[in-house]
């Protein structure tokens, strides 16, 4: 019998709390492989890589085979173990790191791969990259995650879903059709509430506005943050507070005025209260005292000069903002705090995400869905949104749903608001869903989806695309890197992309060592339009594409196909084969 010791930096059970964090997706990969590994042998998840040797020794004692499968990039993988080890990793560049930096020899992946003597990767593109660095004879196998058999798949669709559909998600939903737009920002009756954790319990709240912090997510009408903080873009920028505030409150700013706004007196409003203050020339502390009778979630500034000065670049010089602190002017009796906590049912300061609630979603017409990590720039979601809105700005029958996979809405909310604001009103609908979807809700979302949309510049595998294709959903997608293994015009409207320069994502030196693809925006627009027309006018073509999508996935990521690759590459003994349940 074969024993598989398995390890991922963030194990599957930790995914929900770590969505979007570095290496979280290896937990997903392990979760997809594990049921198949269990058919091929015994699976033991280890908490620390060093534990693998003890399992190996035990297996040897009783004459069993043992493999240690490390679901992590090579620089996170252990070396020098007695147990035969292979990483299972995704990589989206045509070069693998072949030099060491930061005093970490494992950053030269060749040292790790040579120690293991083999590697499993998830795509042919990565296998080629490994062979390029390790030599043509190095044992490397492209084995995609066995996705196809992991879901309860619906019957193959004979026509595109177009009618009224209703499903629900646990989480937060942002809908561009609920916004009203002005030059200074966008507002929606729900937006403030959705980004708010509920009533404030009086605990001091600090929001840092630098590029590493989550504060900038709550800004409307500001530029992308820099290491020191950020500065405003429009005349009346705003901060969406993480809590709903009523009554006396002190707001401390670390701020200054830039250009013509240095020394300028501006106004700030919170609920029904308003104060004036002067923006200092140099960054300094400013204390604003409000006493709003209305519950308020938006702190807005007014009267900033926002014209583009002649000069170096085309950005306005408004108000610089480095930090914002909210606190009660006087201590609040503890029982009040406790009562507020009971009412809101949570401690706002300790919850970086958003309140979970089940939200029904009604859609009609053509639904394009994408499931992605919004802080992974390779997912390229701003292009997805802008090309969609350009293609369908006058088309109410088109909806784009982005299911954001990240633990914190703050990580992308400001970029999302900024983009939607700059696009303005459209007749097409953009829905952004924030939350972790259990399998049943995920399957309901698949069922409602007409096309899966993916504008990735590079992928090591792209499991959501494979999952939707498994469900028989045609795609609008780029065919670069790993997608080349399974995406063809038979099942997808292929979006053109071509290489551009980049650096390896974990290389802080940013040495230019790799290429990643840039998406041809016009091609993405065209693919949206063509797919929409096919869904509405050519149901037979759509049905053929749905069938092709599923057929491809059976062949690529069905359990029998993946099991065969694993057995071949790991030389699994006959005994292990005997334990294999026949895949369906």
């Amino acid at each position: 019998m074969t024993t598989f010791a398995v390890w991922a930096p963030i194990p599957p059970e930790g995914i929900a709390a770590n969505l979007g964090q570095p290496e979280y997706s290896y937990g997903f990969v392990l979760a997809r492989f594990r049921p198949l590994l269990e058919k091929l042998g015994r699976v033991v998840a280890v908490r620390h890589p060093e534990e693998a040797d003890a399992i190996y020794d035990e297996c040897r004692r009783i004459g069993d085979t043992c493999w240690f499968l490390v679901f992590a990039p090579p620089h996170r993988a252990p070396t020098g173990l007695r147990c035969p080890t292979t990483t299972v990793f995704a990589w989206e560049f045509e070069t693998i790191p072949d030099e060491a930096w930061d005093g970490e020899p494992r950053n030269d992946w060749r040292s790790v791969l040579a120690d293991h003597g083999r590697a499993i990767v998830l795509s042919q593109h990565t296998a080629t990259a490994v062979r390029r660095a390790m030599g043509p004879d190095f044992p490397v196998a492209a084995i995609p995650a066995p996705v196809y058999d992991r879901f309860t798949l619906p019957p193959l669709r004979q026509e595109p879903p177009l009618g009224q559909r209703r499903f629900s998600v646990a989480g937060t939903v942002v809908d561009n059709q609920e916004f009203s737009f002005t030059d200074d920002g966008l507002s929606s009756p729900q937006l403030g509430d959705q980004l708010s954790h509920g009533a404030w319990d009086g605990t001091r709240i600090d929001l840092d506005m630098n590029a590493q912090a989550e504060g900038p997510a709550r800004l409307v009408g500001f530029y992308h943050p820099e290491p020191w903080g950020t500065w405003s873009r429009v005349a009346a920028p705003a901060v969406l507070l993480p809590v709903t505030v009523t009554g006396p409150v002190e707001v401390d700013l670390v701020a200054h005025g830039l250009g013509a706004n240095a020394g300028r007196t501006i106004r700030a409003t919170l609920g029904d209260d308003e104060v004036s203050f002067r923006l200092p020339r140099r960054r300094g502390h400013i204390r604003l005292r409000f006493d709003s009778r209305e519950p308020a979630t938006v702190l807005q500034f007014h009267g900033i000069r926002a014209d583009v000065p002649p000069g170096l670049d085309e950005r306005t010089m408004g108000m610089g903002l480095a930090r914002l602190t909210i606190r009660r002017p006087t201590p609040v009796p503890p029982r009040v705090t406790a009562a507020t906590r009971r009412l809101t049912g949570r401690d706002a300061a300790s919850d970086p995400g958003l309140p979970g609630r089940t939200v029904p979603i009604n859609v009609a017409g053509v639904l394009f869905t994408s499931v992605l990590n919004p802080v992974d720039h390779r997912k390229n979601w701003p292009d997805l949104v802008s090309a969609f809105c350009w293609a369908f700005r006058d088309e109410p029958r088109a909806t784009l749903l982005l299911k954001m996979t990240h633990r914190s809405v703050a990580a992308y909310a400001s970029d999302l608001q900024d983009l939607l604001h700059r696009i303005g009103e459209t007749r097409c609908r953009v829905l952004v869903v924030h939350g972790y979807l259990p399998d049943a809700e995920y399957e309901a979302l698949m069922e409602a989806t007409t096309f899966y949309a993916n504008a990735s510049s590079a992928e090591g595998l792209c499991m959501p695309l494979m999952e939707f294709m498994s469900a028989g959903i045609p795609a609008v997608a780029t065919d670069n890197t790993a997608m080349a293994d399974y995406l063809t015009p038979a099942a997808a409207f292929v979006v053109r992309s071509s290489p551009g320069y980049t650096h390896w994502p974990h290389d802080d030196r940013r040495m230019i060592r790799a290429t990643e693809n840039r998406v041809d925006w016009q091609s993405l627009v065209d693919a949206f339009r063509r797919s929409f027309a096919v869904a509405l006018e050519e149901p037979a073509v759509y049905a053929d594409m749905a069938a092709a999508a599923r057929a491809t996935m059976v062949a690529v990521s069905g359990d029998p196909a993946v099991a065969a690759l694993l057995r071949d590459f790991l030389h699994l003994p006959d005994e292990a084969l005997g334990h294999r349940a026949e895949p369906k």
């Binding site: 583009v308 670049d313 085309e314 802008s386 604001h421 551009g500 040495m511 041809d520 925006w521």
Partner: protein, 408 residues
């Protein structure tokens, strides 16, 4: 034209300070004005106004034509009904929203009152007409640069130049070293052994654009020690400009091809020498209102590596350039602080730029006759595009358009 014309002309900023202002947004309007002077002098008299409001007294029998070299949103409203804006534009739509409480930001407000408008490309003419109507009096008159540079087209091979300014040179400083070396200063003599690719860039104006050039160059010609890329940096802050260049020169290492970053205000003779030593002039922009450097180099018989979008469509094709692919994407009018997505720009296809460097290098080293012929074509085409004669004819015709010259 029967009546006598007096051109009253103005561009923002003072000519004395041009080198200090290099790289700032308005500097090119100044250059354009200078280029137009001889053409205007051909047709009438010319008076430059330090302040566009200080209009001189009228002269009997003389009709004044007020040309303001600035975008429409900068035209003073009280002059709007007599000023003809002369402006560059590289987006598919002109601004049609009065943002920031300034009605002029809706260009239609200004153009509707103006006698007409002069821009520098057919692309911009199309954008203006789409907003103003097909019969709106707008003309494309590129800056007449050709006559100044065309004589260089007859040059023999030039393999060395002397440049005054701060220079970073990978032939003398190892780019693998992270810290920026001290740039050479004063006048430096530089020798070239193979093809020279030159690009004139402001490293802080659309950062991605010149980064595309330097990265595509190294990606294409990493192992070619005879190739040289000259980055002629246009920016008022020497240290900032050089630091931005070195950042990429270092992060691309190792490579055997050569990169030179030059910061300084070259004399006319030095600029002519640089042009003469250049094999290909390179442009990788997302949009051009006309592109003076490209027109100057090409007038001098230097073929290009460039996309054929926006204004470049008027003079770039496969006969005078290695054409770089591009695609449209949603963008904003550059002076709109809201950054609302209202127009398209045209980023280049980096892979196509890389191929163009490869193809150009291959042609220069194995088929110099073809490269020479492309240069001859370039100079001829620019001659028909932007010679003084062409622009004079175009301007005369425009001035006869009804309503453009207004007697008062």
């Amino acid at each position: 034209m029967t009546q006598q014309l007096r051109f009253l002309i103005h561009a923002p900023q003072d000519a004395k300070n041009m080198s200090a202002e290099l790289g700032r947004a308005d500097y090119s309007y100044r250059f354009v004005l200078q280029y137009f002077r001889p053409v205007l002098a051909e047709i009438g008299t010319v008076v430059e106004l330090p302040d566009p409001h200080d209009l001189p007294d009228g002269l009997p029998g003389v009709t004044d034509v007020l040309l303001l070299f600035m975008p429409p949103h900068q035209i003073p409203l009280d002059l709007a009904d007599r000023a003809i804006p002369v402006f560059a534009w590289e987006y598919t739509t002109i601004p049609t929203e009065p943002f920031g409480d300034d009605p002029r930001n809706d260009w239609r407000e200004v153009l509707r009152r103006a006698p007409g408008a002069i821009t520098h490309s057919q692309f911009a003419v199309t954008a203006v007409r789409e907003a103003m109507g097909a019969d709106y009096p707008v003309v494309s008159l590129p800056a007449p640069v050709w006559d100044t540079y065309a004589p260089l087209a007859d040059r023999g091979p030039v393999n060395s130049v002397e440049l005054t300014g701060a220079i970073l040179d990978t032939a003398t400083s190892d780019p693998a070293v992270g810290a920026m070396p001290t740039p050479t200063s004063g006048t430096t003599s530089l020798d070239f052994t193979g093809p020279v690719f030159t690009t004139v860039v402001n490293p802080y104006d659309g950062r991605k654009v010149w980064a595309d050039t330097i990265t595509a160059y190294v990606a294409a010609l990493r192992e070619e020690p005879d190739a040289t890329l000259v980055l002629k940096l246009v920016h008022h802050d020497r240290d900032l400009a050089l630091a931005a260049a070195w950042d990429f020169m270092h992060r691309l290492s190792p490579y055997r091809c050569r990169i030179l970053a030059v910061h300084g205000y070259l004399t006319d003779l030095q600029f002519a020498e640089l042009i003469a030593a250049t094999t290909f002039v390179v442009n990788s922009s997302r949009g051009e209102g006309q592109c003076l450097p490209l027109m100057e180099f090409m007038s001098a018989g230097v073929p290009a590596i460039a996309p054929d979008h926006t204004a470049l469509a008027d003079y770039i094709d496969a006969d005078d350039a290695f054409v770089v692919g591009s695609w449209p994407e949603w963008a904003w009018w550059p002076h709109d602080p809201r950054r609302f997505l209202r127009c398209l720009r045209h980023p280049v296809d980096w892979d196509s730029l890389r191929s163009a460097f490869n193809d150009a290098h291959h042609a220069a080293t194995s088929d110099p006759g073809t490269v020479h012929a492309m240069g001859v074509t370039a100079s001829q085409r620019l001659g028909s595009h932007c010679s003084r004669e062409t622009v004079t004819v175009g301007l005369r015709r425009f001035l006869t358009t009804e309503g453009v010259v207004r007697d008062r």
